[in-house]
């Protein structure tokens, strides 16, 4: 049973345009969400996170939106740059497990390809 779903295995976006990566979750106990970026042969790198008490968090070109009622979050990257080409993982955690105690639950990832 997949609790975090990224339904788009890949996404192609033109350089300079907005990239929107989506993530859905089923576990209502999740209250903290993170996005990680992964290049080939490297470990995932933390990108941005959001607590369930917020509906938006922005950091430079990256914005994460959370819709709790729909159990949906999205990562917006604008403008998209060639270096953004990577696999993006959505991850979630439930605070009743003490933050990281149950580890993070990850989606399968979306491969973002930025086209020049």
């Amino acid at each position: 049973d997949q609790q975090v779903k990224q339904n788009s295995p890949s996404l192609s976006v033109q350089e300079g345009r907005i990239s929107i990566l989506n993530c859905d979750y089923t576990n209502s106990m999740f209250d903290y969400f993170l996005w990680y970026k992964k290049y080939p042969a490297e470990g995932p790198t933390f990108l941005i996170s959001i607590s369930s008490i917020k509906d938006k968090n922005e950091d430079g070109r990256f914005t994460v939106f959370l819709n709790k009622s729909a159990k949906h979050l999205s990562l917006h990257i604008v403008p998209s740059q060639p270096g953004d080409s990577a696999v993006y993982f959505c991850a979630a955690s439930a605070s009743n497990s003490g933050g990281g105690a149950d580890g993070l639950t990850f989606g399968k990832g979306t491969h973002l390809i930025i086209q020049p």
């Binding site: 470990g43 993982f89 955690s93 580890g103 399968k108």
Partner: protein
């Protein structure tokens, strides 16, 4: 070091052999996590340590898997009698403490069981 390091980066082993994977967390991070990523899949949580204690081992795939951590430092993940389905990238992460959500990952060890 500045980040999480793992060794070896690649390991090819024959079915039935034992392997040991090593993780050095970020200095000062008391929480350490092991994940597995099979081809085409997301990261699968295996086990965490708070200090050198692993309170919950239920995420380990089978009793052939074990993990240790000495102090608040190096951790080893051991797989005994490896099987082909153990082939995956094994990732280690650390965080400031168990209450911190942000985890910082190492580059992983790619294990191939032939």
């Amino acid at each position: 070091g500045a980040g999480v390091s793992q060794s070896p980066s690649n390991k090819v082993t024959e079915k039935g052999k034992d392997v040991e994977l090593r993780c050095d967390p970020i200095s000062g991070h008391t929480a350490l996590y092991w994940y597995r990523q099979r081809l085409g899949q997301g990261l699968e949580f295996l086990i965490y340590f708070q200090g050198n204690s692993a309170p919950d081992k239920s995420g380990l795939p089978s009793d052939r898997f074990s993990a240790e951590r000495t102090g608040e430092s190096v951790s080893t993940l051991t797989i005994q009698r490896t099987q082909q389905e153990d082939s995956a990238v094994y990732l280690c992460a650390s965080s400031r403490d168990i209450a911190a959500y942000e985890q910082y990952f190492g580059p992983g060890t790619r294990l191939t069981v032939t």
